[in-house]
């Protein structure tokens, strides 16, 4: 019965404003872990990146199908709450810039993505440092509220193109 956290796939940033990891969620696992390592972008202006899923054709889902909630915990200013319903993304404040030593890291659990009969859920926690926020930790949840098969995960810069991801690695593991 013994088994492991099983590595599935990694992708690295290519200088685009978005990074996807596709064809990683299957019926082989109920729970997946995604690690977000060493992310930063091309500007000293801090920018935040939103989460989305990829549908069964590999297309990023941008319809108003997400609910989310998250707590921002900042070292220099007050904590803040993020929430939304029927949103086009999960805007959970994964934030970064390209200051020396700065960047974003985190981990995401995804539940039941390949199940065509249920919604897809995630929990996330991130730790990042930027010139805007200093240290910013997040604890967050999200739900994609359509019962369909999900096969991948995407992060995209919130404003839609101004900032590119210059560094970063996204890895997916199955929790068997």
């Amino acid at each position: 019965m013994a088994t492991n956290l099983e590595f599935i796939k990694s992708v690295t940033a290519t200088g685009a404003n978005s990074l996807s990891i596709d064809e990683v969620f299957t019926t082989d696992y109920d729970v997946y872990y995604i690690s977000l390592q060493g992310f930063d972008q091309n500007s000293t202006t801090a920018a935040r990146y939103v989460y989305r899923f990829l549908d069964s054709t590999g297309t990023v889902i941008t319809a108003s199908e997400y609910d989310y909630a998250g707590l921002d915990m900042r070292s220099g200013t007050a904590f803040a709450e993020r929430r939304g319903t029927n949103a086009t993304s999960m805007d959970l404040y994964f934030i970064m810039d390209n200051g020396t030593g700065y960047g974003g890291t985190g981990g995401v659990y995804v539940y039941n993505p390949a199940d065509t009969g249920s919604y897809t859920f995630l929990t996330a926690q991130t730790s990042a440092y930027s010139n805007d926020t200093n240290l910013l930790g997040t604890k967050a949840i999200g739900v994609h509220k359509v019962a369909e098969a999900i096969r991948g995960f995407n992060i995209t810069e919130f404003s839609g193109g101004a900032f590119t991801i210059d560094n970063g690695k996204m890895s997916v593991f199955g929790v068997k």
Binding site: M1, A2, T3, N4, L5, D30, V31, D67, Y68, A69, G70, L71, E81, R83, G84, T85, Y109, Y111, N112, D115, S118, Y119, F121, L122, T123, Q125, K139, A140, I141, G142, V143, K145, A147, V175, K176
Partner: protein
């Protein structure tokens, strides 16, 4: 040395049961830390999900459970939820999980000190679920059973004794040293 996540026990519910037990006779005491995942957990009546620890395979129902959570929700201001000296450990923190389609509960928990008879047993919980009011929510925080004794498992159930677990997958792992 590479670590590993080792599956110890798994229960898949496809028809209604009053509770689910992980460990007990299947418990492997060779780990310091355990992880539990739950997916697709649903009740047959709108109720809150709870748990208890096992000692010698027996569910412990003394009033020694404390809990503290941040309730994050998609619809309105977040809340704090806490209690002391309860006879069960809420993991949806008193919030009912729904019975409608797609109103499901998922979580990842870590269990600490279960094999240490000199320390309390602690549980961290990061849940995401759709409540009985159709709101996406999370209970992020943890609970503790304030009795210094060894524990060899956990049980999960919907509070009040009137609801069953209708579906869900419950899996217990050990974090290999």
């Amino acid at each position: 040395m590479a670590g590993s996540l080792i599956k110890i026990d798994e229960e898949i519910v496809t028809s209604a049961v009053a509770s689910v037990t992980l460990g007990g006779s299947d418990w492997d005491s060779s780990y310091d830390v355990y992880m539990v995942t739950m997916t697709g957990v649903t009740p047959d009546v709108d109720k809150a999900l709870a748990m208890r620890v096992l000692a010698g395979g027996v569910e412990q129902s003394t009033s020694n459970y404390d809990r503290a959570y941040k309730i994050m929700r998609a619809d309105t201001t977040f809340q704090n939820a806490s209690s002391t000296n309860s006879n069960l450990g809420f993991i949806s923190s008193g919030l009912s999980v729904g019975t409608d389609t797609n109103e499901e509960f998922q979580t990842t928990q870590y269990l600490f000190n279960f094999n240490n008879s000199s320390e309390y047993s602690f549980v961290t919980n990061e849940a995401v679920f759709i409540s009985s009011t159709a709101v996406a929510m999370s209970t992020t925080g943890g609970l503790v059973y304030t009795v210094a004794e060894a524990h060899n498992g956990v049980s999960y159930f919907f509070e009040g004794g009137t609801a069953n677990i209708e579906a869900g997958t419950f899996t217990l792992y050990g974090l290999k040293k």
